[in-house]
């Protein structure tokens, strides 16, 4: 608030306003949890909660990358297809290495390395076209979305790429096991979230993302290398997509042209539900985590009840998404 007048005009309390905007997603989450509890006594069970969190972890990790991209004023529509291509290539690499290295962890590690590498390269590709090529991010990533999707269909010959069964058995624990009862996917998700929050809040890079998204020219005049920062957000996004895929592949051991369809929309929705501004300039990673969990719970709750016709699942989802954001909407801009 500016200096301005004291003791008069009780203006809309900034405290309350700030609070709603901050706790909005949390309130929505709490309401959903209450709904879940009221529908099914198993809702709060260890099994159900770890199930929901573990399967939300892919989108979650991707959405954390998207938080950076969007905060810096960008957009990445290609993440779903990128995930599919990375999964496909990982599987092919592992299958292809078995004759040489046998069924072993080294094959899995090589596959993982290939995945991360590919994610980074895909991110570099998107990022360079957007920053150096000066093409609208929406178009670049819409284009690469088509390209990646085609590529995986082509690699899988229209069908499904399946991981060799023995390697899959070696790899399986990465999704299904855990530490101290917490499945690995949840642990990785938590680590990425904490790291993301730290980077966003506590590093110059995070600050620069917000500055660029808020006002690119100001950032440039402050001698921030706008192109590089933006490029890094896309690379980060690519690498995080790959990390998500590292957890995805051991779950079902396959990839096809349907892998990751619409993940981009889900990730962006989670980011915005979490309170990040779509036009850039302000992002919060913890909000994204809440957004992801909200989306995960909606699906879970729908499966736990029988009142709503399955035909109307999408409508329920739509209503909840709107309500979750309604809870944190700004008052009339002045």
């Amino acid at each position: 608030m500016s200096v301005s007048a004291p003791d008069i005009a009780p203006k809309t309390k900034p405290g309350l306003k700030l609070d709603l905007k901050t706790v909005g997603p949390l309130v929505a989450l709490a309401l959903l949890v209450l709904l879940g509890i009221s529908l099914n006594e198993n809702f709060l069970s260890y099994n159900n909660l770890t199930n929901v969190l573990a399967r939300s972890s892919f989108i979650g990790i991707i959405a954390i990358g998207a938080t950076f991209v969007i905060t810096a004023g960008g957009l990445d529509l290609s993440v779903g297809s990128m995930a599919a291509v990375i999964a496909g290539v990982m599987i092919m690499v592992m299958n292809w290495l078995i004759p040489t290295f046998g069924v072993s962890w080294s094959v899995v590690l090589a596959g993982m390395a290939a995945g991360i590498l590919l994610g980074g390269v895909a991110g570099v590709g998107n990022g360079l076209m957007i920053t150096r090529g000066r093409i609208e991010a929406f178009i670049v990533t819409l284009g690469t979305m088509g390209i990646f999707r085609s590529l995986v269909t082509f690699l899988a010959n229209g069908g499904t790429l399946s991981l060799n069964f023995q390697v899959a058995d070696v790899y399986r624990p990465v999704y299904y096991d855990g530490l101290l009862g917490i499945p690995y996917p949840i642990l990785v998700f938590a680590l990425v979230a904490i790291g993301g929050e730290l980077i966003m809040r506590r590093t110059a890079f995070g600050r620069h993302c917000a500055a660029i998204g808020s006002n690119e020219q100001v950032a440039r005049y402050s001698s921030i290398n706008v192109d590089n920062v933006r490029l890094i957000t896309y690379i980060l996004q690519g690498v995080l997509v790959a990390v998500a895929v590292l957890l995805y592949v051991p779950r079902l051991g396959s990839a096809s042209s349907t892998t990751g369809v619409l993940w981009e929309l889900e990730a962006i929705a989670a980011v915005i539900i979490g309170g990040t501004t779509l036009k850039g300039g302000y992002g919060r990673v913890w909000g994204t985590v809440v957004g992801v969990i909200i989306l995960g719970l909606i699906g879970n709750i729908l499966n736990l009840q029988s009142f709503i016709s399955p035909y109307l699942n999408g409508a329920f989802q739509g209503v909840i998404i709107i309500l979750a954001v309604l809870l944190q909407r700004p008052r009339r801009a002045s």
Partner: protein, 293 residues
């Protein structure tokens, strides 16, 4: 000019089964073009009905096809466009899905969707003579799914089988996994799962294994995916049977249509490929190491 051009139009590979359709169509095309150098094929794979209509329009107006083999993604939406192709004097073969008016196609090659549902239901009734609880993982909300579902429900009606719940799993492994996990949370007692599709089955099976409940129930899928058939052959108690609904029917349709032009045989009428129950006893006939599906 004795070259013949045959258009082949199928839906894009948006799930495993259509992936198989794409695969078998291309395989048939490759094989037949080699055998018959004077037959040219035009292949298109379309994500939705307007695109599929566009594709067949293009085949007629720019590629000059003599015959069309089509697996309509949404038969109701495609009917009038296919009828136009027929009215333009082309030979039309429709695959898998019944058009909404009769007598458009010269040749109809189809699987049996209601049969798929009914066969699965019959098996479940027989496997659970004392009754039991089942859950259903459906595909996408489109007519085929509805036909399978209706037939299944019709068949279990009046029996002592209880359908606990049904949700869409979009003919997709990931969704099969997700929905099954939640069904397992929700229902402490499940005796059987009907997924009507092997892709969904694969996801559901992983969820059941994760929950450690593979001894309590079995899964009946559909379509005859090799991975499931191998499990059937191996006597896996979790997947004792499958119901055939082979995407290779597209290849049959292409072959029949080609022979109409090359072999001088008049082909016409309806070829219904039964949805048979695949058990450990007859699984040999369905195994095919080459098939990607």
């Amino acid at each position: 000019d004795d070259t013949v051009t045959i258009g082949v139009s199928v839906p894009a590979a948006t799930h495993g089964w259509t992936g198989g359709v794409n695969y078998f169509a291309q395989q048939a095309i490759d094989r037949l073009s080699e055998t018959y150098p004077n037959v040219e094929f035009v292949f298109a794979s379309s994500p939705d009905s307007p695109k599929q209509i566009a594709d067949i329009e293009d085949m007629v107006s720019t590629r000059g096809i003599d015959a069309l083999v089509i697996l309509p993604g949404d038969p109701d939406a495609m009917t009038s466009a296919i009828k136009q192709v027929k009215d333009a004097g082309k030979f039309v073969t429709v695959v898998d899905r019944q058009l909404s008016i009769e007598g458009v196609e010269n040749l109809y090659v189809a699987g049996d969707n209601p049969g798929l549902g009914a066969n699965a239901a019959e098996y479940i009734k027989q496997a659970l003579p004392d009754g039991g609880n089942i859950v259903i993982l459906r595909g996408l909300p489109i007519p085929i799914d509805q036909q399978r579902f209706d037939a299944f429900m019709g068949s279990v009606e009046g029996s002592n089988i209880t359908v606990l719940g049904d949700e869409f799993a979009n003919w997709n492994r990931d969704d099969g996994f997700r929905v099954m996990q939640d069904f397992l949370t929700r229902y402490p007692e499940i005796d059987a799962v009907w997924t009507q599709d092997d892709d969904i089955s694969l996801g559901a099976i992983e969820a059941i294994r994760q929950a450690g409940r593979e001894d309590e129930m079995f899964v009946v899928g559909g379509a005859g995916m090799q991975q499931i058939l191998q499990a059937v052959a191996a006597g896996d108690a979790l997947t004792p049977v499958d119901v055939s609904y082979s995407p290779a029917m597209i290849a049959t349709a292409i072959e029949l249509t080609t022979s109409h032009f090359t072999g001088g045989i008049q082909v016409a009428g309806r070829y219904i490929l039964d949805s048979t129950l695949i058990t450990q006893d007859n699984v040999e006939g369905f195994l095919d190491a080459e098939s990607p599906f």
